[in-house]
Symmetry: C2
Subunit: 223 residues, 2 copies
Amino acid sequence: MRPDGTLRIDVERSILQSADEAAAAIRALLSERKIYAINLISSPGSGKTTLIEALLARFDGKAGVAVVEGDIETEIDAERIRKHGVQVRQINTRSSCHIQPSRLLSVLREMDLSETRLLLVENVGNLVCPAEVSLGEDARIVLLSVTEGDEKPLKYPLVFRTSDLLVITKTDLLPYVTFDVDRVRRAARAANPSVEIFEVSATTGAGMSALLDRIEGLRAMKH
Amino acid sequence: MRPDGTLRIDVERSILQSADEAAAAIRALLSERKIYAINLISSPGSGKTTLIEALLARFDGKAGVAVVEGDIETEIDAERIRKHGVQVRQINTRSSCHIQPSRLLSVLREMDLSETRLLLVENVGNLVCPAEVSLGEDARIVLLSVTEGDEKPLKYPLVFRTSDLLVITKTDLLPYVTFDVDRVRRAARAANPSVEIFEVSATTGAGMSALLDRIEGLRAMKH
């Protein structure tokens, strides 16, 4: 290809259109089955799988929750979740830095969702590409651990702009790191005035029940 | 585009070829000017900018070091580095999750590299896409902080397979997190038997001088 850009742009637009179509199909599937879907996005190691585990512990009827784990490689996260007795599928994206809506759609069509009320999708650990692609979710949650640095909402504005909830994780480590929670709150609100912000520590449990209450409230509002 | 895949593959191959050509041009430029270049890759907040600051503090002749900062948005890192009195350029990649070799080449051609002996390139915070693209560097360093989780070399094998050095950062936080250093060492060695592994804490300074010695040794070996 001659690098004049035109062809590249056309192809990217086609791929995005097809991604949008797959996202719309997911949205229709979820709506028909009255399933509330959450797309969890963060850097590697910010606590997505841990939050999912906390949500599973909270929900009584395990049959009501289904989980899809996205990773470049390995079944590590799916195995971790499977121990909780819920339905879980792993998507290995290989060279792709986010879950493709078409892959998620295929997986959802294979799953038994007859009892499912809440679908938790853990995206690939990455603050960039997953933010660009809708998976047809009802809510998007971005997690930021206090060890990652408080300038991240400025550096990765898209994911903060497009998320409904910001969860600041690992707050038990605040005494040992330099992290200005107020700076993050201000920057996140500047990017997205309607974002709801929670501070949690999975280690101590601090803030966790307020977050779980809110997620359950959002789910119950839909159905 | 009909989603038969063929066109997509051809286009991607062209883009990669052009990236390879740009990387080769960078390599030629570096070789001609006897500059040793390091490409730093990690998740957001693992300590890339902090390691660059430690390297700057170590090098006496500030004119000998040049820095290129890659971020989706903002000049935060470039401003932080500029305070050290070295030549620094910021590349804002916008929607791209890694520094494009062609962008780096353009920036290097604009810089005054007549005194430069060491070029430090901080890639966009991401363990996925930057691993797929050579910037013509002499050495690639992947950083992993102990707060990110010890399964990361299994989940993101490419960046560990293609890096010359693995730097485990924030070791001062080991008492407060669950992180098995030996598990990381084993997985990293399995992905890449020749990887050299360092454990450092920028907060306490532990391990830092061994790492800086090694980087200076690598640089001196080339020229």
